[in-house]
């Protein structure tokens, strides 16, 4: 009898847990980004979190736009 009572109480506790109030609205913080975080462009398999290597690659591409240096060098 005692076991049934304990089991019944435990079961009711489990059922009541589902009635808990959960925040369903986003709490906005004024002036702050609310979306998902984004990774850095060098944080991937290609650059293996090597910021210097990424900057080097971007600099080479940017310098490549200068046709004066492309034709004279």
């Amino acid at each position: 009898m005692k076991r049934i009572l304990i089991a019944g109480l435990a079961g009711s506790l489990v059922l009541l847990a589902g009635c808990g109030e959960k925040q369903q609205v986003i709490v906005y913080k004024q002036g702050q980004y609310q979306g998902k975080p984004d990774k850095q462009p060098w944080d991937n398999a290609q650059f293996k979190n090597d910021k210097v290597a990424w900057e080097k690659a971007i600099k080479a591409r940017t310098d490549g736009q200068n046709e004066y240096t492309r034709t004279t060098n």
């Binding site: 975080p37 462009p41 990424w54 971007i58």
Partner: protein, 207 residues
């Protein structure tokens, strides 16, 4: 690294729309959405000027300031991006932007206004780099591949420059100093060479 910036040289732009096409193709941008476009002033008149316009990734971006759901963020390279999952398509950013960069798809039922879409400087968005979800929402992430935006790299006359603002400014400054002004920029001397640079006067008897 400084901030990522675009610079369009109006003296060089020939209104070929290569940048527009490159952007469309690279990101599979839907019909009716133009992340980049070419604007021509005094079209058809002598001295017309064209310039390629997209999101300028402003240092103090007005779109970020007016967004009611704060879905904009700025990366460490100064690229202004947004989270499409949060965007409510209100259009405030479109009214605030002086360049008309924010675009809204019009292809749904009753011409409904969807989530805002704009130039990402080919930097994707807040999804895993080069994932299917990122491509679908924001297009290709070329920056994570160590590449510059497709529009700037595709520009045939190199009128549109993109990349580190300091380097881009140096390229443009060097270009302006070398090419001079007036007919030196675009005229007879440029096309056929100047007389003091190897051009020999024609000789022979007149027929």
């Amino acid at each position: 690294m400084a901030r990522m910036k675009f610079l369009c040289d109006a003296e060089r732009c020939i209104e070929c729309n290569g940048c527009v096409t490159a952007c469309k193709q690279e990101h599979e941008v839907p019909w009716g959405v133009n992340r980049r476009r070419v604007v021509t002033l005094n079209d058809g008149l002598p001295g017309e000027k064209s310039i390629s316009v997209a999101c300028m990734h402003c240092s103090d971006a007005p779109c970020m300031a007016v967004c009611p759901v704060d879905c904009f963020y700025k990366t460490s390279e100064g690229v202004v991006l947004h989270d499409k999952d949060l965007c409510i398509g209100c259009g405030y950013c479109f009214y605030a932007c002086p360049f008309g960069a924010p675009q809204f798809p019009q292809d749904g039922a009753f011409g409904l206004r969807g989530k805002m879409d704009k130039c990402t400087f080919c930097a994707g968005g807040p999804e895993a780099d080069n994932s299917a979800a990122e491509f679908k929402k924001y297009g290709r992430n070329r920056l994570a591949e160590g590449k510059l935006p497709a529009c700037a790299e595709m520009c045939s006359t190199k009128a549109l420059l993109g990349g580190d603002g300091d380097v881009v400014a140096d390229i443009y400054r060097n270009r302006v100093l070398r090419r001079g002004k007036g007919s030196e920029v675009w005229g007879w001397g440029t096309a056929y060479g100047k007389p003091d640079k190897g051009a020999t006067p024609p000789t022979g008897a007149k027929s």
